[in-house]
Symmetry: C2
DNA sequence: ACAAAAGTGTTGAATCTACACCCATGC
DNA sequence: GCATGGGTGTAGATTCAACACTTTTGT
């Protein structure tokens, strides 16, 4: 594997931290490995980059292979590279880590080379990182932290919602991903005052109980001014 | 170069956006290429990752090779990967981009395989991106934007300063990197109120003119709460 | 004394927090 | 009517922007 050149010839993979909200929980998609190494352990979905394939294209391909969903409104974003020389026992394999976020995906799909795919609650897998193969615990932690921070400064939260959503659903994204309560009344105004965060559709949705909520769509803005700071959010309940 | 495997064997480089403040300007270090391809054009310092070398180690090695300065108090941080299949005419070469920030470096040093090294004012090189080889204009732009954003939410500004610095010097980092004036009086208090941003040394420095300024050292904090927002900074002059 | 840069005080505007209260629907 | 979630008003605390003013040095 290591040649006599001054530089390495190596293989490149993409690994995905696919996040969603399911059953009111913050969850990630993991695959149980069917082959050595780390057979039987859990791992992030991913795979090798093809010879003439762009990195983002490789990530998008893996994403649709693993989730069984075509080119939809996914948020997909590269966030780090992991390249420790010994991170893969098969040789030098460098991986590009991607953060993928999608609205509530129905049910996990078993990939081609994987024996099993499952949604894991984030808290659960973070509590037992030894379940994860390679350095995927590190990658996962960084991907989770990335998403939590992005909620503060960007409009990323809308990526967890369906095309049309209520302000209450958007608020639940913050509450579930951060794990803290957020005051619904102040949240409403904060979202409305931030130009381009959400766009009204003039439609309403009537839920099981309570007053029907107005429906919104994602706006043009990508950054939030002022930011939605975790440390300052109030935690009142009424 | 492209084998019949389903995945690519490829080469990996690190490229560095080395930023500093020189002569009151925001500058980056560029190298004039001595070899094909792109001979004679300017490029970011960088080079191939060695077979058993960690990515961060490769970046640190290139940094000290190009600047001639040993393991000092550099800020060094991976910020993106560029892997378009055709980005390098020599074959598939993926590069990991690093942001390096250092206090005022004295004078450029010609590297081993480079014919010339020079500090460029950021504004100047951004205005003529066609001077740059490969996709280095994209990498540079992203590195600059990264630094500008990090000033808002992190204590990165201290990386532009020497070990001991005055609040005025720290303020000049913001002014020069962002290209906007910052009110000295409000800035002082804002820095002081953010716990862990700077630590007093109980020493003073007396400049050419004016009252001597207290000297500070970088603190423990890495993130700024509340952030130092560009869009909100006042632009008064007194 | 004067220029220059450091640093403090202060005031009106904007924002945030916490909560009272009203609105619209299903049962 | 009543429970439930959506949404508005508002008062006090906090923070911000703008700028007057004081402090400490070199010349």
């Amino acid at each position: 594997m290591t040649s006599k050149r001054p530089h390495a010839l190596l293989r490149l993979t993409v690994d995905l931290v696919i996040q969603t909200l399911r059953d009111g929980q913050f969850q990630v998609l993991l695959i149980r490995r069917g082959n050595e190494p780390y057979r039987g352990q859990w791992a992030l979905p991913g795979g090798f980059v093809r010879p003439d394939e762009d990195l983002d294209a490789a990530a998008a391909r893996e994403l649709s292979e693993e989730t069984g969903i075509g080119p939809r409104t996914f948020h997909l974003e590269q966030f780090a590279v992991f390249g420790a020389p010994d991170r893969d026992p098969r040789g030098r394999v460098v991986t590009v880590a991607y953060l993928a976020i999608a609205p509530n995906l129905p049910t996990p799909v078993a990939g081609s080379d994987a024996s099993q795919a499952a949604w894991w609650p984030v808290d659960k897998i973070l509590a037992q990182p030894e379940e994860l193969a390679f350095d995927h615990a590190d990658i996962l932690r960084m991907g989770i932290e990335r998403a939590r921070r992005q909620l503060e400064y960007t409009t990323l939260a809308t990526a967890f919602c369906a095309e049309e959503f209520t302000i209450g659903e958007l608020r639940r994204v913050y509450e579930v991903v951060w794990g803290i309560p957020v005051d619904p009344r102040n949240f409403n105004r904060k979202v409305m005052r931030t130009a381009g965060f959400v766009v009204p559709t003039n439609r309403k949705r009537t839920a099981e109980a309570g007053r029907p909520a107005a429906l919104y769509r994602k706006g043009d803005a990508t950054t939030l001014y002022p930011p939605m700071l975790r440390s300052r959010l109030n935690q009142a309940s009424g």
